[in-house]
Every structure is written in structure tokens, then in C-alpha cells.
């Protein structure tokens, strides 16, 4: 059996993409392939797992499975190697979202886009975690691309919600009879958290009290500062909660205690939090742009417009319609089953076996 080693920019314990790469490694090993992970940076407990990419020595009958998601020297390294390449594309946020906010980040994103074309030209096979991402590779000249949705470790869903956080959120909900909205994702211009904030005045006009919980670290200090000032100017400091990067237990508590998962992101290559929301039985209202519409499927309310008034109307409808909430919970469970890691693993091994045959 040949060896198939993964290369990626970084490996981080709380990152869904990293979980996916660990699952890929395990799947490859169980199928008989030797498989290690080489990375530009490994963090926390995964330092012992991710080997420095410069230490790779290669050899006969060895394949490189490179995951591309950002501009990185790892891509240049891979392009210089002679081993056959399989490209695994997770999409790259268009630099235009960051140019005005974080120019340095924008340069890295643009570099990633530039690296993509030669990677596609060099790859013997292509994988992508959504049809949306696959279409980008096909548009760049790839002849075929297999879709292998993200494999989330089922143990991720088994995390016990932090009881103190659940109790606090439920007590608050009971005291002010407000609907609690949740979004999970880094504070970033492409995720458009400011548009979620803008829905709150529209909800207020409908006579609906709402609180918004934004869970996730920040990808842009400037965007975060602007968002905080915006919240302050609207007088919403008491009802918009910047939770920041949360532990798995606190994250699970938010999924458990909030009422609706909302997402108006303009660019996602997959959108893992939708899967987490389904697991916790949270109804979803989302703008169906980029890959979100594809991942959401029939598992939530997919909006083609995301103005604050339309978003408020969708949330208002959910609050008033218990039957619709139940229906969305049922469909969410069904949709989650579509992303069973076993299916992704089968698709992965089929694509890899065909490539190396």
C-alpha cells in the first residue's frame, strides 16, 4: 500500500477542519495506508501529532494529500515536491472581505487564491468538502472533484453542556421573555455579524424582545471594535453578548439554551455550526449564500435576502409557529444524518483508492 500523508497550514485542537484532518488520517490508516500529518503550525495537544512540513523526506510510492484554505508556504513546498498530489479544497475567503479591515490578512487570502491555480494544475485528483467548493476547482480547470463533507468526531456532540451557563441563560430568558438568538463563528467581515445586530431593532419594532449571542474569537480587531461601537450606538449592550472563544462545554450550553440559530454569513465553504445546531435541536434561519444553502438543504429556513426586516420576519414567524419549530427540528435530525462521517469516509476512500490505483 502506498503512503498518503496530509499537508496543511495549521492544526488546532478546537478547530473543525483539524478534526476533519485527524478523521481523514484515521480513515486512511484503517484502510491500510501509512498516513501522517505535516503542518506549518501545530497547536496545543496536537503538537505531538503535526510534524513540521520541512521535515518531510518523501520517498517512493508516497502521495501528498494537501488541504488548501489560506495562503501558506506549505502550498509552495507541496508544489515543489515530486510526489503525486491530491488536492483537498476547503475554500478561501475572498480577500475583498478583509481588504478594508485587515490588509495583512487580505494579502494572505489573496496569496492563497493565487496558489490555488497551480495546485489544481498539479493535482492528480481533487477533493472538496462541498459542491460549492468543488465548482470552484472545476472552474479552474480540474476535470473531476469528489465531494467529501467534513467528518466531525461524534464525540464532539457528546460534550456535556456547562450547567452554570445553561442555568444563567435560561434564567435570563425566563426573566425577560426574550427570544435568544445564537451565531457561532469568528467575528469577521464575511460573516456579517453586524447584520444580525441590525435585525434586533427590526424585531423590537415587531414587539419582540431578543438577545443575540455571538460565540467565537475574532479574525479582525477593527471589525470587532466597529461591531461593539455599533451595538453601543444602538443601545443594545445589554442584549448583544460577545461570548468570545468558548470551551466545548460553554459552546454546547449555548446551543442547548438558545432558541434559534441565525446565520447571515456571505462566505462559507461548508458551515460546521449548522451541524452542531441540528444536533442540539435548534431551528435554523440562514441566508443561503455561498455553501450555506447547500449544507442547510431542507434543514432550516433558507433566505435568499438577508435584510434586517426579512430576518426579523423569519425569526418572528418561528417564535409564533410551534409546529414549524418541531418540523425544523425533525428535518434537522434528518439532514444531520446526511453528514454521517461513515458516508464521508466511504467517499474519501473511494476517491483516494481511485487516484492511487
Amino acid at each position: 500500500m502506498p503512503a498518503i500523508h496530509q499537508f496543511l497550514a495549521s492544526l488546532s485542537p478546537r478547530d473543525a477542519q483539524s478534526q476533519h484532518h485527524l478523521a481523514i488520517r484515521d480513515a486512511l490508516r484503517s484502510a491500510g495506508y501509512a498516513s501522517e500529518i505535516y503542518t506549518g503550525e501545530a497547536k496545543g495537544a496536537l503538537r505531538s501529532v503535526g510534524r513540521p512540513f520541512q521535515s518531510f523526506e518523501g520517498g517512493p510510492d508516497t502521495w501528498i494529500l494537501y488541504a488548501h484554505a489560506i495562503g501558506t508556504p506549505v502550498a509552495d513546498f507541496v508544489l515543489q515536491r515530486n510526489e503525486p498530489l491530491i488536492l483537498n479544497y476547503h475554500n478561501i475567503t475572498p480577500a475583498s472581505f478583509f481588504e478594508s479591515w485587515e490588509p495583512v490578512a487580505a494579502i494572505r487570502l489573496a496569496a492563497g487564491r493565487r496558489q490555488l491555480r497551480p495546485l489544481v494544475a498539479s493535482a492528480h485528483a481533487n477533493l472538496a468538502d462541498s459542491q460549492y467548493n468543488a465548482r470552484e476547482l472545476l472552474a479552474l480547470g480540474a476535470r473531476r472533484c469528489s465531494v467529501v463533507p467534513i467528518m466531525l468526531d461524534p464525540d464532539n456532540f457528546a460534550v456535556q453542556p456547562d450547567p452554570a451557563t445553561v442555568a444563567r441563560l435560561r434564567a435570563r430568558s425566563a426573566s425577560n421573555e426574550s427570544v435568544h438568538l445564537l451565531f457561532v463563528g469568528r467575528l469577521a467581515p464575511n460573516k456579517c455579524q453586524h447584520e444580525l445586530v441590525a435585525a434586533l431593532p427590526a424585531l423590537r419594532s415587531r414587539g419582540l424582545a431578543a438577545e443575540l449571542h455571538l460565540v467565537g474569537g475574532s479574525s479582525s480587531d477593527r471589525y470587532e471594535q466597529t461591531l461593539r461601537r455599533y451595538v453601543q450606538a444602538l443601545g443594545l449592550e445589554d442584549v448583544v453578548h460577545f461570548v468570545g472563544s468558548a470551551s466545548p462545554e460553554v459552546l454546547a450550553a449555548h446551543y442547548e439554551a438558545c432558541d434559534v440559530f441565525v446565520c447571515v454569513s456571505e462566505h462559507e465553504g461548508f458551515c460546521v455550526p449548522l451541524l452542531e445546531a441540528w444536533h442540539h435541536g435548534l431551528p435554523i434561519v440562514a441566508y443561503a449564500g455561498s455553501a450555506v444553502g447547500e449544507t442547510l438543504g431542507r434543514g432550516g429556513i433558507a433566505l435568499s435576502r438577508k435584510s434586517p426586516t426579512v430576518l426579523a420576519a423569519a425569526i418572528g414567524r418561528l417564535v409564533e409557529d410551534a409546529a414549524l419549530i418541531e418540523e425544523l427540528r425533525r428535518r434537522g435530525r434528518d439532514r444531520l444524518a446526511d453528514f454521517d462521517p461513515i458516508r464521508s469516509r466511504t467517499a474519501l476512500l473511494a476517491a483516494v483508492d481511485e487516484a492511487v490505483a
Binding site: 481588504e99 478594508s100 479591515w101 472552474a139 453586524h194 441590525a198 431593532p201 427590526a202 419594532s205 415587531r206 477593527r222 471594535q225 466597529t226 461601537r229 455599533y230 450606538a233 444602538l234 447547500e294 438543504g297 431542507r298 429556513i301 433558507a302 433566505l303 435568499s304 435576502r305 435584510s307 434586517p308 426586516t309 426579512v310 426579523a312 420576519a313 423569519a314 418572528g316 414567524r317 409546529a323 414549524l324 418540523e327 425533525r330 428535518r331 439532514r335 446526511d338
Partner: protein
């Protein structure tokens, strides 16, 4: 993995339609201020960095601010001995750090100076060309009458057999888009004016917020079955700009795709449109010349009430 809106339960597509209808009705009834969305957007932009507005002077100021690097080495540390270690490095490498920051700041200063000179010259060119930028912005505010129902219906009939998507730009209050959809065409419209989009929205036609130039950037070559061009882009912009739009629209068309230009008849144009436009509205003969120059072949053309309509394809 997914293909239907309806399964054995609630029709989600219908729910979404009801949600959009609910939002429209509340806007129409005044429950939501008509300016609410714009005010919220403007408020957010007010707190955003000046670079978000795209203002050239603000961008250069921002580059200048970040181009000056202070030769300060941070020595704070969470680890007990970390501070002393960092202080040691700072002392040993301080001279090199200072030299490096000065070099970078000098480069940044020179680059910013060059940008300022470039900005001065751009402004001078803009002024010498009769303040083209201001003139173009002015033309964007001009009112161009929409075609009447009969003309919209005729355009729809001309494109009724088109199976791929059809772009209407500018869509204005959505009358052409509505006529096309009524005959089963997969039509969508772009309209940069929020007021016009709201008007279309109230009439049940959803439009995308975009202008022609930036929208054509996002359309893949050969992706559209037809493109309908109208509004100030075709009636008030410069001839060169109109040719540019037509050429880009032709690129977006499938090989059998059709281009429709709907212009204001020169003899029916308002005095404001004639006097303030960068170039005046064109007659059918002039449109034929312009389209031929842009690489199109005219298949049919006619005049109806206030408009000229030219139907063409790629040469």
C-alpha cells in the same frame, strides 16, 4: 443530497415566501420606517475604519499611519523569567531592530509620498476632464423613464424562448423582470438604487442590489441566455462606457444568447437628460453603429412610444 422543498411536512419554500411577504407588508404599512435599513447601514459605516468607504485620501492616510514603525521591542511576558530573557534579546539586538524599523519606515514614507503625488495628479486629471467623476455621479441620479407595459410585453415575447438565465440591468421598479417572468423566463434584475428596489419589492419583484459594472465582473463567460441593458448606463453614460458595458455583456452571453438594449428615444428625452448626460440618448441608427463597434450584430430594432429597442447577438 438535496433537491426538493416539500417533503411530507411543511412546504418551506411557501414559508419563505410568506416571510418575505410579511416583511414587505410591514414596510408598506409603515411599521418599519422606510429608511430603517439604510439608517442601520449608515450607522455601521460611520463606526467602520475610513478605509471601508474606499476614499483614496483616507486610504493613503491609513497607509501613512501604519508606515511609521516605532523601534520599540515588547518585553512583557506571562512567564516569570520571560521578561528578563526578552530584555536580554532586546539589548543585544536593539541596534539591528532600530535600523530595520527605520529602513521600513523610510520605504513606507517614500511609498506614501508617491501615492500622494499620484492622488494629486489623479485629482488634477479629473478636474481637467470637466470633473468627469462628479459628472458621472450626477448622471447616475438622472431619471430615465421605464418602458410601458406594451413595450415590456414585446421584449418578453422576444425572449420567451430563452431557457438560460436572463439579466435585466438596470431593473428599475422591476417591470421588465416581471414581464419576463410572466412568460416563464428565468429573469433576474439588478438595481443599485435602494428606493427603486423597495418599489420593486412592494410590487412583488425581488431585485439584487448591484450596479452593472461590478455585477458583470461576477458573471461567468457564457452563463446568460440574454441580457437586457437600459437606464442611465445606456442613456446618460459616455459612449466609451456604453461600448464597454455592451462588450462585457456579450462575453456573459451563451453562444446563442441575445442582447437587448432599451434606450430612450432622443426626441422624447427630457431636457435634463439631454443636457446633463455625458453623451445623449441614441437613435436606432446610432445604436446600430455603437453595437457594431462593440462586436454585435443587430437582428431587429423598433421604436415604441418613448423608447428604442435593439435586439442583437454576438458577431
Amino acid at each position: 443530497m438535496d433537491g426538493h422543498d416539500v417533503d411530507d411536512g411543511i412546504d418551506l419554500a411557501a414559508v419563505v415566501r410568506e416571510i418575505e411577504q410579511d416583511a414587505r407588508e410591514r414596510r408598506r404599512s409603515g411599521e418599519y420606517s422606510i429608511a430603517l435599513e439604510r439608517e442601520l447601514e449608515e450607522l455601521f459605516t460611520r463606526f467602520a475604519p475610513p478605509t471601508v468607504s474606499g476614499d483614496l485620501r483616507a486610504l493613503i492616510d491609513n497607509a501613512e499611519e501604519h508606515g511609521l514603525i516605532e523601534p520599540f521591542i515588547p518585553v512583557e511576558s506571562e512567564k516569570p523569567a520571560g521578561r528578563y530573557v526578552k530584555q536580554g534579546f532586546a539589548k543585544a539586538l536593539g541596534w539591528y531592530h532600530t535600523w530595520l524599523t527605520q529602513e521600513i519606515s523610510q520605504f513606507a514614507g517614500a511609498a506614501v509620498r508617491a501615492l500622494r503625488v499620484g492622488a494629486d495628479r489623479i485629482e488634477a486629471v479629473e478636474q481637467r476632464l470637466g470633473d468627469l467623476h462628479t459628472h458621472r455621479r450626477l448622471t447616475e441620479t438622472l431619471i430615465v423613464a421605464e418602458p410601458d407595459d406594451v413595450t415590456c410585453h414585446e421584449i418578453a415575447q422576444q425572449l420567451a424562448a430563452v431557457r438560460s438565465r436572463v439579466l435585466v440591468a438596470r431593473a428599475d421598479s422591476g417591470s421588465i423582470v416581471a414581464a419576463l417572468r410572466a412568460v416563464g423566463v428565468d429573469a433576474y434584475g439588478i438595481e443599485p438604487s435602494r428606493a427603486r428596489r423597495d418599489e420593486a419589492d412592494a410590487a412583488g419583484v425581488d431585485l439584487l442590489a448591484d450596479d452593472l459594472g461590478s455585477h458583470l465582473d461576477t458573471v461567468a463567460p457564457g452563463a446568460l441566455g440574454a441580457v437586457v441593458l437600459r437606464g442611465t448606463d445606456m442613456d446618460a453614460d459616455s459612449i466609451g462606457a456604453r461600448i464597454g458595458f455592451v462588450q462585457r455583456a456579450l462575453t456573459a452571453l451563451a453562444p446563442s444568447g441575445r442582447l437587448v438594449v432599451v434606450g430612450t428615444r432622443p426626441d422624447r428625452a427630457s431636457a435634463t437628460l439631454r443636457e446633463l448626460a455625458l453623451a445623449p440618448p441614441l437613435s436606432l441608427a446610432s445604436w446600430s453603429t455603437v453595437l457594431a463597434h462593440a462586436g454585435a450584430v443587430v437582428e431587429e430594432s423598433f421604436e415604441r412610444s418613448d423608447h428604442v429597442v435593439v435586439i442583437a447577438r454576438r458577431a
